[in-house]
Amino acid sequence: MAILLFADHDNASLSEHSARALGAALQIGAEVDILIAGQGAAAAAAAASTLQGVRRVLLAEGDALAERLAEPTAALIVSLAGKYDTILAPATSSGKNVLPRVAALLDAMQVSDVIEIVAPDTFKRPIYAGNAVEVVQAGGPLRILTIRGASFAPAAGGGAAPVTAIDAPAVPALSAFRENLLSASDRPELSSARIVVSGGRALGSKDRFDAVINPLADKLGAAVGASRAAVDAGYAANDLQVGQTGKVVAPDLYIACGISGAIQHLAGMKDSRIIVAINTDGEAPIFQVADYGIVGDIFDVVPELERAL
């Protein structure tokens, strides 16, 4: 049977995680439909239709779907479920919010954060902050998966799948959207950037975080990341947190500045291709995963690195 991909988008554009989830879906089967639930989302649907390997794009629009609130969105996916034996979504905040609700309504278990497709019904996923990897088989008629973007290459463009408008079921409004307070940034998006420069507690203040981390990130065209300690202390925005409960990144280059390397942080970046660590403590655990380490003070080393590039 076929696969339904609940896409991540902001109505105007499709997130790269959707293309990555499609990459995973195509390893499971060839008949993949993409669901765009939104309002004024024709542009996102058009973007989805250009991805290679898509059979059809289903476009469901309505006020209740504009921000993909969990209750109406889950009801919509459930109404489509009968035609599919696999329903998946990227493991973004939207996918993680909606898909378990769908799973429970269909009396199915969800396999969260899939990092490898072993067989159409067998998947690898990290547990214990990535300190172990579970291989799970999902028997039964229906599989529900969230896909970790960092582990799959995005599907290529150049396709031309048809876009079909569909109706969403009417459901009682249990919740209402009020506002989004999104961080504006000209830098590349953290979870898909090629280079990430991250700062930790050692930065000591928001001003110093900005003064030390940002110039290096700008020089490298990199995204900025942060440890939980830096976010909790208000040095960086919450959406910059990298780790077990933040974003999972796997860039070509990850530069950790004044970050100790707690397991919860490593969970979000240890699959980066090259890791650089800068820390005054030569015994800091971050050095165990770093390809290149510098034992030194970030307030000296980071500006020097920026000048040397």
Binding site: S93, Q110, S175, A176, D239, Q244, T245, L253
Partner: protein, 249 residues
């Protein structure tokens, strides 16, 4: 309004677990066990709501082995009023936990359930959303702020691009993110007092919930390990190696 807070007993967040050599699971023998950190935040939130006069009672519930009493006692020492242990051995998946919690929420006539957003052992991030579905309630996941007013909750959620504010009708299911609050420590007198607070035990069978797992764990593997790196002596050496050896800049 009664608030129900599900708390899970998990390996302590400071413990680095080991995968068993035969691939059958992770070795937790002698590992320190604690309350899931997100659940401490959920308990703290419920207690603060009671202190603010928004809730009449805070009930904590855990699904797991008899030892899960420990985390329930911790929650009672923090300030929860009473506890329920639903005994279940072995792996209980989020769907089964959600079904058990559905029974408890209905029996207790809870007006709000606050869970952690994620258990740090299975890292599933599912149970709250599943519970909301089964109850047919509204849900607000990854909460960093909750304000109650007029039968509704205004919740600030941590989402990928920043923050989102939504309003949900009560009864509701809310899952707690890291920055919702800083949980209090239980004082010694409160730990003593908690020993006398009511803790009732039930079994999943008594609730009529089938907890047989739906997923089969084929094996548990060690994650891919990284080759040991080197320490470089200078910024110049670092730049040189990033350019020539690693070719990433």
């Amino acid at each position: 309004m009664k608030i129900l807070v599900p708390v899970k007993r998990v390996v302590d967040h400071n413990v680095k677990i080991r995968v068993k050599a035969d691939g059958s699971g992770v070795d937790l023998s002698n590992a320190k066990m604690s309350m899931n950190p997100f659940d401490e935040i959920a308990v703290e939130q419920a207690i603060r709501m009671k202190e603010a006069g928004d809730a009449s009672e805070v009930i904590v519930v855990s699904v797991g082995p008899a030892q899960a009493q420990d985390v329930l006692r911790t929650a009672l020492a923090m300030g929860a009023d009473r506890a329920i242990l639903v005994e279940a051995e072995g792996r209980v998946e989020p769907l089964a936990v959600a079904k058990i919690l559905q029974c408890v929420a209905q029996t207790e006539e809870a007006g709000l359930v606050v869970l952690g957003k994620q258990a740090i052992d299975d890292d599933c991030n599912q149970t709250g959303q599943m519970l909301a579905a089964l109850l047919g309630w509204s849900q607000a996941t990854f909460a960093s702020r909750i304000e109650l007013a007029g039968g509704r909750a205004l919740v600030t959620r941590e989402i990928d691009g920043g923050l989102q504010r939504i309003e949900v009708t009560l009864p509701a299911v809310v899952t707690a993110d890291l920055r919702l609050n800083e949980p209090r420590y239980a004082s010694l007198p409160n730990i003593m007092k908690a020993k006398k607070k009511p803790l009732v035990q039930q079994t999943a069978g008594e609730l009529g919930v089938d907890i047989a797992p739906r997923l089969t764990v084929v094996r548990v593997e060690e994650p891919a390990s990284r080759a040991t790196g080197i320490k470089v002596a200078s910024v110049a050496e670092l730049v040189d190696r990033l350019r020539t050896e690693a070719a990433v800049i």
